[in-house]
């Protein structure tokens, strides 16, 4: 089964071909460009560069606990979830339950979006549908712990009206992504 083999390979095989190589370089190019921006800023306005670094440090301190949580979460998922199970809940043919799971998980998930990418990649390698990933990422616009704050700023009625629309939009994004992916599969 191909899905299984994909997961087994991801331990760090360097020879995964051109695409993987390009992706790795892309990471580094990005980091180097940002560091270059910092150097520029440091040259023209050292104080701002220092403040930006301070803000960066604060963000890191905030996300470290969430990263630890993500590692534990990833390890547990890796341990308990066989690709077959993933395929059953969020894979092809997962149906309404899959959408419900993805959107609920998006609403519950904490922390910045980018720390979830590695986990989502793993899940997709194990058979999670792209549409559900898109729905997950969209439904993150609803954050339960932040709802009181949203009510404080924009009023209860606004929040009550906005939330169902966000859920509907998550479904639409997911469905369209799925349509496009299916068409791509047919062409290939």
């Amino acid at each position: 089964m191909k899905i299984v083999r994909d997961t087994e390979d991801k331990g760090g095989n360097k020879g995964e071909g051109e695409k993987r190589k390009w992706d790795t370089h892309y990471d580094l190019y990005f980091l180097v460009s940002v560091i270059f921006l910092y150097l520029l800023l440091f040259f023209f306005d050292p104080e701002s560069a220092y403040n930006a670094l301070k803000v960066t440090g604060n963000i890191f301190i905030q996300i470290i606990p969430i990263l630890l949580f993500v590692i534990i979460f990833m390890a547990l998922i890796d341990y308990f979830l066989l690709p077959k199970t993933v395929a059953k809940y969020v894979g092809k043919g997962s149906g309404v339950k899959g959408w419900f799971l993805a959107i609920s998980a998006g609403i519950i998930s904490q922390g910045p979006i980018y720390i979830w990418y590695p986990l989502l990649k793993d899940l997709r390698d194990q058979g999670m549908r792209s549409g559900l990933i898109a729905a997950f990422l969209y439904s993150r616009a609803i954050k339960i712990p932040l709802l009181p704050l949203m009510v404080y700023y924009f009023g209860l009625l606004f929040v009550i009206v906005l939330l169902p629309y966000v859920v509907i939009a998550s479904l639409i994004v997911g469905q369209i992504i799925e349509l496009i992916e299916n068409r791509k599969d047919k062409i290939q």
Binding site: V34, A52, T56, Y117, L119, A141, Y153, F158, L162, I177
Partner: protein, 151 residues
């Protein structure tokens, strides 16, 4: 040392191995994470809130698109977007623009686009972000129209 490649059968899973893989997976994400957070720090310092407020014109649809665009570029804790949105509302910016702004803040990420592309594929990231951008405008229109209809 544990060799992650030894697993021939499906039964070779152990919890230590799972943690090893999780660390490895996140470890390979570190350069990208570092880049995104550094860029966020830079943007938060260099783009003042007053600048954001001065961008809105008062024309509804244009403001909504602008709100959507600014929310797409910015990222970070949604709390920040509520605070900025609250400030903008006090400054007389329309609720259409503010709604689009707080929705794209989370759903569209220009700053983290490279990370999304690296993990989930450039094609996926491109389609998802474009769709989310358009949908945020629709969500804003639907929300505010409904609000006006109820009140």
């Amino acid at each position: 040392m544990i060799d992650p490649k030894h697993k021939g059968g499906e039964k070779s899973k152990s919890i230590a191995m799972s943690f090893y893989r999780a660390f490895k997976s996140l470890g390979s994400a570190l350069p990208m994470l570092a880049g995104v957070v550094l860029l966020l720090g830079l943007l938060l310092i260099c783009v003042p809130k007053q600048f954001i407020a001065s961008v809105f014109t008062g024309e509804l649809f244009r403001d909504t698109v602008i709100g959507s665009a600014i929310g797409s570029i910015s990222a970070g804790n949604p709390i920040t977007s509520y605070i900025i949105g609250g400030e903008l509302m006090k400054g007389g910016v329309s609720l259409f623009a503010i709604t689009a702004f707080i929705v794209t803040w989370v759903t569209v990420g220009i700053v983290q686009f490279p990370a999304e592309a690296a993990f989930l594929g450039r094609r996926f990231a491109l389609i998802r972000n474009s769709l989310s951008f358009i949908l945020a405008i629709l969500v804003a229109i639907a929300t505010v129209t409904t609000l006006v209809a109820i009140q």
